[in-house]
Symmetry: C2
Subunit: 265 residues, 2 copies
């Protein structure tokens, strides 16, 4: 089993209660990579016997760093409608809340459809060198990252633009699903690093993901690369936002995702 | 007292428990305007004696229509850190959950700052005629809306673009605060109406607001107009997203806001 699926391997305790544990392979600067935590919460809902539909929207709030070791996840279906279902999920360690989330699952049905935006221009992943983690962050090794634009500012150059575009896929490759797409939503390093040309304390406080693709469209991506592009809109008094799109190799807009990040600089 | 403040006039019951009631003046097609519900939840947190900091992020999930009458709001501070505080809020009627939300409140401190995007070009509000509600929706009367671009498609013309830009302020005017800015985040009619050139069943499922402005910057707007602009990125199988910015008259980016909407067409 690869480290992605191993991280999402939860034990079912009581109804709506699951147990998991952190893996050293997903370590970030403080606690695990936020994307793997978000993916774990999606998987926890998917594992519920009364789940209704597929992920449509997810908001994850990072309350406090998750320590190395076991964690508990409590899921609660707050409301089940004919065509959708609303969840509240909480992750804790020894009774201390660490992460909270709300999720909307829903049915998808045929309607008029259109993608109004276009993917950024990018050379094929094979034409770009694979990125190395600039400060030895462990979880980077679980991804194959190829920067098209806005790579980490290792040379100390500030940028006028906060835009980063990169190809990303799981390493080793695995078939894409809602959980892996959720994790990729948090793949971007803090936009303030790029604008300022240096590292600083920064971390995601809250992340929202809107899943535009259903299970079939996601499965059609196979284990291929996702083209991920993100930018900030405003940096002010310790916080900035980030809006991003995740595109399939075949040009499908799989997800749009937003977050608010704290920083000190 | 104007209808905005009247809608937010909550009675405190027990600790973390407030009671309010719907007003006919805020009626939408089904239940009250989602923006006034979101604003009410922000106000409920602001009213808590242990509140720490100002609104930074808010996600509101619309579970089921709120019926005319009384409602209960339960607020819970899940985690209080030195510089921020995480909340879970639930609105119910007769024990039936109707709305859930998570919110991050936080302190603001001096940092490097920049607004990376620019406001849309727009004539002054005085140069634009005030919009009338095209199908007699009651809550419209609580706002002065002046469309710059992408007004309601009353003539049945489909548009290639989902962008709407408008000036908006409370009617009667009142000083801007976090609650009123929250309500304005939901001011846009469904983007699918504009793209399709006709009305259809549609409603917000989940809305997220990131507050870029602190209390001083918001107060500096007085009771002035906000320039609000929104667009969709993808419409697919019953859902579409919307990303929007709210700009102060003085060019301050006050908030960015996102939502996922269901539609049938």
């Amino acid at each position: 089993m690869n480290f992605f699926d191993k991280a999402l391997d939860l034990d079912s305790a009581d109804e709506g209660h699951l147990r998991g544990h952190t893996l050293p392979e997903w370590a970030n600067m403080v606690g695990p990579f936020g994307g793997i935590t978000a993916a774990t919460l999606v998987r926890a809902i998917e594992a519920q016997p009364d789940v209704h539909g597929q992920p449509v929207a997810l908001t994850v709030n990072y309350l406090a760093p998750i320590a190395d070791g076991d964690f508990d996840i409590h899921t609660r279906a707050v409301k089940t409608n004919r065509s959708n279902q609303h969840w509240i999920v909480e992750l804790s360690q020894d009774g201390e809340p660490k992460t909270s989330a709300t999720a909307v699952f829903g049915l998808r049905r045929d309607t008029w459809a259109d993608t109004e935006i276009t993917a950024p221009q990018a050379p094929a992943p094979a034409e770009i060198e694979r990125a190395q983690s600039p400060f030895g962050v462990v979880w980077f090794d679980n991804y194959d990252l190829r920067f098209v634009d806005g790579a980490m500012p290792v040379h100390g150059a500030a940028s006028d633009s906060s835009t980063t575009t990169l190809w990303v896929r799981n390493n080793p490759p695995r078939p894409m699903d809602f959980a892996s797409l959720t994790a990729v939503s948090d793949i971007f390093y803090p936009r303030a690093f790029l604008r300022r040309g240096h590292f600083m304390p920064a971390g995601t406080i809250s992340m929202t993901v809107y899943f535009h693709a259903g299970a079939h469209e996601i499965a059609a991506q196979g284990d291929g690369f996702v083209l991920a592009t993100a930018r900030a809109q405003r940096f002010s008094r310790g916080y900035f936002d980030q809006s991003a799109q995740l595109w399939g190799r075949n040009g499908t807009l799989l997800a749009t995702t937003h977050q608010i990040v704290y920083f000190k600089d």
